[in-house]
Each structure stands twice: as structure tokens, then as C-alpha cells.
Symmetry: D2
Subunit: 351 residues, 4 copies
Amino acid sequence: MNFISDNTAGASSNVMAAIAAANDGTSSAYGTDLWTQGVERRFAEIFEREVAVFLVTSGTAANALALASSTRPWGAVLTHEESHVADDECGAPEFFSDGAKLIGLAGTGNKISPDLVTQALTRFREGALHQVQPQALSITQATECGTIYTLDEIRALKAAAAPRDLTLHMDGARFANALVTLGCSPAQMTWKAGVDLLSFGGTKNGAWAAEAVIFFDPAAAAEMKWRRKRAGQTLSKGRLIGAQFEGLLADGHWLDLARHANAMATKLATAIEKSGEARLAWPCQANAVFPILSASLHTRLKAAGVGFLAWSDRALPENMTLAQGEVVGRFVMSFATREEQVEQLIALIGA
Amino acid sequence: MNFISDNTAGASSNVMAAIAAANDGTSSAYGTDLWTQGVERRFAEIFEREVAVFLVTSGTAANALALASSTRPWGAVLTHEESHVADDECGAPEFFSDGAKLIGLAGTGNKISPDLVTQALTRFREGALHQVQPQALSITQATECGTIYTLDEIRALKAAAAPRDLTLHMDGARFANALVTLGCSPAQMTWKAGVDLLSFGGTKNGAWAAEAVIFFDPAAAAEMKWRRKRAGQTLSKGRLIGAQFEGLLADGHWLDLARHANAMATKLATAIEKSGEARLAWPCQANAVFPILSASLHTRLKAAGVGFLAWSDRALPENMTLAQGEVVGRFVMSFATREEQVEQLIALIGA
Amino acid sequence: MNFISDNTAGASSNVMAAIAAANDGTSSAYGTDLWTQGVERRFAEIFEREVAVFLVTSGTAANALALASSTRPWGAVLTHEESHVADDECGAPEFFSDGAKLIGLAGTGNKISPDLVTQALTRFREGALHQVQPQALSITQATECGTIYTLDEIRALKAAAAPRDLTLHMDGARFANALVTLGCSPAQMTWKAGVDLLSFGGTKNGAWAAEAVIFFDPAAAAEMKWRRKRAGQTLSKGRLIGAQFEGLLADGHWLDLARHANAMATKLATAIEKSGEARLAWPCQANAVFPILSASLHTRLKAAGVGFLAWSDRALPENMTLAQGEVVGRFVMSFATREEQVEQLIALIGA
Amino acid sequence: MNFISDNTAGASSNVMAAIAAANDGTSSAYGTDLWTQGVERRFAEIFEREVAVFLVTSGTAANALALASSTRPWGAVLTHEESHVADDECGAPEFFSDGAKLIGLAGTGNKISPDLVTQALTRFREGALHQVQPQALSITQATECGTIYTLDEIRALKAAAAPRDLTLHMDGARFANALVTLGCSPAQMTWKAGVDLLSFGGTKNGAWAAEAVIFFDPAAAAEMKWRRKRAGQTLSKGRLIGAQFEGLLADGHWLDLARHANAMATKLATAIEKSGEARLAWPCQANAVFPILSASLHTRLKAAGVGFLAWSDRALPENMTLAQGEVVGRFVMSFATREEQVEQLIALIGA
């Protein structure tokens, strides 16, 4: 049983079929192929507007390219102090942006509040010579703690960012998981709520290696083709990514996959809460569950060979503290997680 | 008929089968999977020594990471003035190396001569404060003109680079094509001849997107894992690349694919030379043919819908000049090129 | 009355005289002149050991070059969250280091505690692929809040940094002010306490534009000449900086200047404390005083035309909070501050 | 006798006097002082138009900041292959521009011809994905070979650069020397001839360390304050540079200094040509003389202790070649060169 991450699975069978189908004949290279072009149109439909789309192979690349597109080297990105861009990309945003600074804000469940954005904008004065200049706000949807911003919360963050005209970037590595929970349209969760720039994640959703940087203002993407190229992210056989997205996006497959993963997480979370064996660090709103494990439960699960991670406790709610030996466990479900695995885990945890 | 590049084909069926086979079950992420580890061992066998291997998704990324690993930001890379790293990667080596300089050397058929290396090392004085310091020499095997360095030539370049201890990097985007022509072992064409660092190309050879940076001195790779990670080139589902290489490298498949591509090129080159319809800009030594096309032949082929590129004439032999209207045509063969396509082309050119 | 900063004065008359004296005849360029060489020897005497010395024109350049010398682009620098390198250099350390990350630690009076260093090193795990790697610890002596690390405190920070072998950098923009307070030797306050790398400040001390990066391990400076050169910090007429330092360092002039500035600050601080008109945010340990000004006192001083800054309250002691309208005022003394100015200010504040 | 460079002298007495005069009282910092502001106005008068002015301490910094302001990281700068920015700044333009490429063009006497600009623009196709994009053209006035572009030549270069809207940058490290030769106005030699961006050199002209980046389109300078700051080039005691320029620019002092240096060079060049002891590599048009020295003359001058450099012969006129043992000597005159020194040298060379 491996609940370590939603990147431990392979690709969904639809994605594999789409790759196989794309493997015939010759095609023009470097993203000028029919698959990539089709995906670009598909995204325009999904988001109900013209968009500029750049396919890449990793979420780190997508995020770093997006942030580099929206900040100058002396700019700054406001983000949660434990967001993926801040903590898990080994400085990729700094590298791609030629040295911009990431300013970490606190927040329960890795969610940023508008107040802290406002406060940071006060601290980094507009036009001040000696300080980096905030130019983007990056949020993760769903967050690294499995929580979700509501549409109102996104709008409120946009409003907080507005006085300084920050680009609102959404790291959507788990975009689909958040979307199916909110039950809104992709447009509502993004540009209609103020998002300017999106890292759309295909990999955790069910692809092998397929991410997209999506500009809701295509004019802002004018230089992106060079930025991506010189980052080594412009595949010559670009249809590999195009085909993955084709397989993913056709007939709502991506949403089905996300619904399955979320359902597995909900099943686990509900069982844990009912059992009283552990309390949840954060509400389960997407495809991950974060129970606080007692030392004995932690040991028991490890002994049983269950794959999961111990997670940071920095973003716990203010009134929640870990007792001696307690650990925040992270269990992530993917499209490939099977219900019987979840049931086995539930049994182990212990009803 | 598409002879535009060896990146217009998809992947070989063995590669596709390997990907499909790798798609079962869960696997650890970020290159710690069994496929990637197997490939690392496979490369050690192929090169008959311990190596450090880093899989990435594009040739540009492989080259840029390799060059960044061997130069300081105030360093310089000697390379042919029309090499891929110098001319076709939109400044990726400069980006990844934080600003190192590429110093372009002339040379027929994109091959560098030891004399020009020596001359450049004289011009950029050792230890000089005001000048960038040459730290690497990058050659392409086979070159962008379809030519090949002999083992003696590689050794002579190494000797020319030795007084300043330059890292010898080989851009092996078409490594297999060169290897089967020389008929030597991978070890002979690389570290035994003085190569320190190799970009091993899988994509043009028959994969989708699979390249490897190979350090023949594993100690030199100590920091590479961070360098690759922050470049967004460490795939979470790393087995995608691992599996492609597994498919490619098993049972000499990669060499078979290269032999086929080379044979197709030789067939075309031989026919052209025999026909007298065009002369070759450079000898056909790998999988590409560069006939000098008269204006009328050029027009005729375009009209027939043949896909090919007009190529730069900067690296023509000294005694060869283009007549009015003449164009250097580039016809590249891949593993997927079918013999009847070549025959059709030969017929069009015109016996 | 201008107490805004210790950079609002010009240069001391000794410094001016040294520049004038250096202005005769020709001299070799780019730091190979006799003045610069003399200063290098002078620093070796001052620090009682061999050192590598690099003169530059600004404190920002000195700090950024020093930090770039001790971190890789994927490295991190632990520093106080409101240190000059973190907050007042517009991202220069990120620029010079090609994207290293500055990790801000909290601490009263801008002083870092060893515990927070240890905690940060736990958070950024050694060798972890996804995280930047802490490689330097940067402290400011005296701090931006006018406080000072004792020798024991420096040694304790070194000990906290030792398990990960962090380079200990000291931003000594106000080195002399700290030194005369501690009454120890320059060697004791630096390498004997564990400091590896020093930004030695001449400008605030009494020069025009003279800073030095000092490596206590000369071997670590092997590449610094290129790093400084390509940063545009290698003056052709290098004796300009050499002469300033010559003037400053001769006959303990630098220490005399610092003693004067500190005495002026102590006079003000003592008077304020005695008067009861304001409490001090932090103890006055160098050449700056930070009284917490009531709204009315703040207004009164501004109206009287006194030059001073309102300062951040983030580093206040835990038990100290600002009442409504209160402001932390910053009053900085320099070598050129005249006693009667301080007395005037004291009178205004209000005995 | 030191003719090694025009940076071996100190500062003119007017410059020294201006620094001394500026040393009284307090002043606001970071370039907001009255001296800097006065210089900004002075430049507006000199150039007969509104300009944005940024003072820095080295020519390398001025050039690198100027080029970084006019290119994107994937941009390219066309320049002479042996220009100072290409060959003598240790990669500073690449560093400051985050990796832009300098494309070296050949040309006698380090002067670029419009034809080669046009040819380079053909080679680097507009909008091409794989190639860096030319965005600036940088010329040196006077060149490193002591030659000068006429106004017509500058206009022709601007015309060649126009189809791609390249920023025309002039490295004016020896601006005054060129200006007094041409006898035109500063406006005529710059923006009226098409120059967009100027590195105005004060150091070689007679200052200690005073250079200015001048934007003829102030709107293009919007971000320059941050770029300069994070490069460590914003001096806190900015009046040091302001005062140097004040001393230099008052009452045509800068032009007098340049006229003297040029006259010394002309005297030497004329004597050499008359004597027949050596031929000149390039015409003497500014403050430097480049005689081709026979082996015996070379030895004789070295033995006599004359300071001069052996120079590159790459930019010799096509019909001029060096005989065995011949060396291109470089003799540079400064404001401080005394006529009797030149006469001594002339005597040594041998009339």
C-alpha cells in the first residue's frame, strides 16, 4: 500500500492509449504538432476564453516559468511559507526568474489570508529603492495540505493584491482535485476569480509528465516561447505531451480521475474521524488526508509496510499542538488508488 | 516524404512497449525508480566503467546542464560557431551556467580542429583578470553537418585542450549514428579518447524524450542532482524516461535503429553522387545528407512536397562555393524512415 | 541636525588627505597599485594572520560578493529576517549568487539565536533533493538595531552552524563600532570566534566609498578576482579605495572615529533614559539609538527639523509593544556628529 | 614613462578640488544628493535634451548595466569581436543581463561596418525560436584601437540596426577624446545620430571613478534604479561621484583634458610617421597610438623602461600583416601625460 504521493502511479490507460495513437507518422516538432495545437484549443474551451498555453514536462518547470514571467529579477513573489514553489523546488523559481525573492507568508493549512498579503505589501513599499518589489502572488489549489481556497477566498486574495497589481498565479498541480470539490467551472476557479496565470497539472492527475502554463491574458505570453526554449522545456517531439493531455482532457476523463482520488481520500478521512483513532490536522478537501498519528499508530503503520510521509506541522491550526511522539501523517490518493487498499488501511488504523 | 529532421518521427515500437510495461503499480519518484536505476547500470555496462547518469527530457537540457557542470559563470566553452549549443538552444547554456560565454570556432563540416583550440587558448590567457576563462571544449558527434570525428581526431582535441585542463564535452544527440559508423565501442568513442562528459541522445535515436548526461568521472557529478532539480528536469514519474531508455538499450536496439537511419542516408548520398545531379556539401557519415541543390532542383523537390531544410553554408569546405541560386539542402533519416521513401526521393532528384 | 544615517557625512579629513596624497604620478591599475597592496598587508596585521582582501565601493557589493562566494546557486543563507542583506539590498545577494535563497530568522534586536539556526538546519535537511541547502550563516556586527553580538554569542552561532559546515559571514558595515564597544581585538571578534568571511566597512566609519571583503581562509578566495571583476567592482584606479583605507587604518584613526560616534550615541541614550521621556527599543551598544517615541514627541522632533527615521518594530523584545501612535525612532551618530548637535537633540527631547 | 593606459593617472586637480569642496556637512544618500542632481541637470544641458542619468563607479558596470537594460536574457548584442564589452569585462554583460549573448563582428580598427550588422541580422532570424534575438548594437567611441566613428558612420549603423529596432549603445569610455576630434556637439555624436544609450566615461578622462549611464529616452530607464542598486553600484555617499563629475564638467574642463591627451597622441603619431621607424596599425584619431614595432625597437623600448602594451593584431587592416617579430604596440595618453615624456619617447623611438 503506497500512499506516499500521487506521483507514484503511472499513467491512466486513456493517457497511454493516446500516446500510442499519436505514435504514427511524422509530425512537425517543437510544439507545432497537431496534438499540441489541439490541446491549446481544448484549453480554450475548458476555460471559456482565449488562452496562451505552454506545455512542459514538470510542475517545477511550469511554476518556475510562470513566476519568471510575472516578476523582474528584483521582484518578489508572495506565497505561503511552505508552498511547493517556496520549499520543494530547490530554488527553481529563483533560477528561472534570475534571482527574484519568494516571501513566505504563514497560514493554517498552507492557505494565505488576504490580511497577510496586505501586511506584506505594506512592508515592501512601492517603489522603494532598497527593497525587492512584490509583483506576483502565488497560491496553490489544492494546497500541499489538501485544503482548498473557495471562490470567495480567491477573490479576496485578488482584491488584496490589486493595489499593487500583483499577478495572481495559481499552482494547479492538483487543479482537478480542487475543481471537483468546489463543483464550479474551470473559468470560475481561475480568471473569473482573478487568476492571471495557471500551472495546470496533468501529471498527478493521471499523465506521465504533462503540465501546462496557461496565460489568461495571451498578450502577457509574448516572450514565453523563448523563456521555455532556453529552459530546455520545449520538447522536439512535443506531441508526447500533447497526446497525454489529449487523453486526459477528452470526455471529462481528467475530472473522473480526480473524483476517484478525492473519493478515496474522503473515505479514509471519514473512517478516521469516525474511529476516533486520530484527529485530522486539516479538513480533507481534495485527495490527501493528514491524520495526526500517535507514536504507537505511527509505528504500527510503518511496521505494516504502509507507504506514507511524515509531514510538517508548521501550518497546523493555532489551537492544535502535537503531543509527545505525535506525527502528522500524509496519505495521498491518486487516480490509481484502489478502494480495497483504502479499506485495508482503514482496518489497520483500526476500527 | 518528411526528411526535415530525425525528430519528426515518434518512438520505436520497442520504446512504446517498454513504457507500457512500466506503467503498472506504484514506484518511487524523482528518479529513484527501478527503471532509472536499471538504466544507470546499463550505461555502466555500455561504457565499461562506473558512470554517473542523469536522465532528462531534452537535448538542450542535457547540453546546458553538462556545460553548466563544467564551467564557472566567468568561464568559457570552446565550440564550433554553428554547433547546436552555440546556435540552436536560444542561450540555454548561458542560462544554465549563469552567464558563461560560448566561443565559436570555425571549421569545415562543423568540425573543430585542434589548431583553433590552441589558438583560442592563446587568446584567452590563463588567469587573466579581464577575460573569461576557457574551461570546457564541446564537440558534437555526429555533427550538425552529418560528419564525424575519428577517434584520432577526438584524441587530438583532447590533447589540445589538455594544457588548460578543459573538460571535453561531447554532444551526442546523434551518438548512436556516429558510433555505428566508426564501428568502435562506446568506451572508445568517449572516455578512452578523452571525453569527460557526454550528452547521450535517445530522442533522435528512437525515443520520445529521453536524454542522459553521463559523467565519466562520477565525482564531478556531486552537485548535479540539485542542478537538474532546480532546472525542472527531475521528473516525478521518472520511470517514463527510464523505461524509454530501457526499451532503447536492450539487445542493441539503439544500434539497430541507428544502422537503419545511416543506411538510408548512405543510400541517398550514393545515389546523388552517382547521378551527378548534385554534389555533397560534406561527406555522408551518419544519418544526414547535404546535397547542394540547384535552384531548379530545389524548386522541383519543394513542389513535389518533399520535406527538407535549407541549411547554412558557413561550414562549407574552403574550396566549395555556392553558385547563384544554389542551396544546401538537408535531408535527415531516422529509425522510421522507410526505404521506399528514400527511393521515391532518389527518383525525384533524378536518375 | 541630521541623525538619519551614518552615511550622510562625507569623509574624515585623514581620508581626504590620503586620497590627495595618492594622486601623484602613475600607478598600475585594477588593484595592483601600491596603496591597495599596502592595505592588504595592513589588514593582515590588524587581523594577525594571512588574509585575502578584495576592495570594493559599496557595502551591498561586499556582502553580495561574500555571500556568493560561500553558496552555490541552490544554496541558502541563514540570516536575520531584517538584516541588511535580507531586506535592504534589493536582492543583490540573490543576483550575485545566481539565485541562492536567504532564509530569514526572527530575533530581538536583529540578533539571531543559535537555537533558530539549529531549527532551520533541521527544516532544510542535509542532501535533500527538493530543498535549497544551507551553506552560510550571515550575521551583522553591529546589527541594524545597534546591538552587538558578544564573543560568546558568535562562538555559539559558529557551533550551531558547524554540523553543516556553514560559512560564517559577518556583515561588518559597522565593524569598528562593535569592536570598540567589545574592547577586544579584530582577530578575537572574527576568525578566533569562528568568522570565515567578513565585509569590513569603511564607508560608514569615515571613508567615502571603501569596503573590503576579507577571507580568513585565503584559499577560499581563489576565484574571487573574477567574481569581483565581472561585477564591475574592480576599479581601474584602484588606489582610490586603497588610499581611503590607508587614511582610515593608519594610527588607529578608524577606531578613534568609531569611539566618537559611539560616545555620541551613548550620550543620547543615557540622557533619554534619565529623562524618562522615552524608553529604548534596544540597548545602545554602538552608534545608534532607538527610542520609542510617543506621537507627540515624534511630531515635536519632526517639527523641529530633526532628521531621523521611523524604524521597523518587528525585532522588538517580546514583552515590549507599541502603544497607539508610538514609533520606533532611529538616530544614528557618525564620526562627524558634533557634541552640540546631540545636546540640542537632548534638549529638544526634553529634560 | 608610463603609456600603458589612460587609467594609470590619478584625478585632475579640478576633480580633487570638487571632491574636497563636497566634503562638508551632511547630505542625503544613495544619489539623492545635490551634487548628483546637479550633474543630472548638467548632462541635460550638455546633451540638449532631457536625459535619465545613473552614476556608477566603473566602466564595466556602466556598460553591463546599459546592455542589461536593452536586452532580454535570450537577447543578443552585436558588437565588435574585440570590443571592451566582448573581451575585457570578464563576462560582466552576460552576468548583468542574466545570460544574453554577445555576437562578435569583425572590423578593421575595431570599427563595425553596417554590412556586417545586416548580415548578422539575417543570420539571427526575427522571432526564430531556437536562436537568441539581437536587441542591441554596441559600438565604442573612441574604439579600443584609438579610431573614431564619423557621424555618418554612426547614422549608417543606426540605419542597419533599424529594421530590428536594436538599441544603439555607445561605450563612451573615451567619449571626450572622440568628441574633440570630431569637433561636433555631444548631441550630434549621440542621440542626433541615433544613439539610444551611452556609457559616458569620466574615469579615463580625469576622474577617479566616475561613469554615467545616460538614457536619451528617459522612459527606458524606468527600472534602472533597481538594476543599479542590486548590482551594488548605488553608493550611499553618492556625492563622491557627483562631485567628480561636477569638477570634470564645469567650464569645459573635460574637453580641455581630452584635447591635451589627444594632442599628446597626435604628437607621437606624427613623429613616428615622419621618422619612418614604424608604421601605424591604425590612424591616430584620439588619445592612443598603435605603432607596429620591429623586434629590435620593441626590445629597445622595453629596455628603456617605457611602459606600454603589446596589442592584438586581429583588427589590422586587411592588407597589413606583421613581419616576423613585429608587435603592435599601444601607447595611451591621458590628461596627465606631460609633453616632455612624449618627447623623450619620440627620441627613444628614434628620430
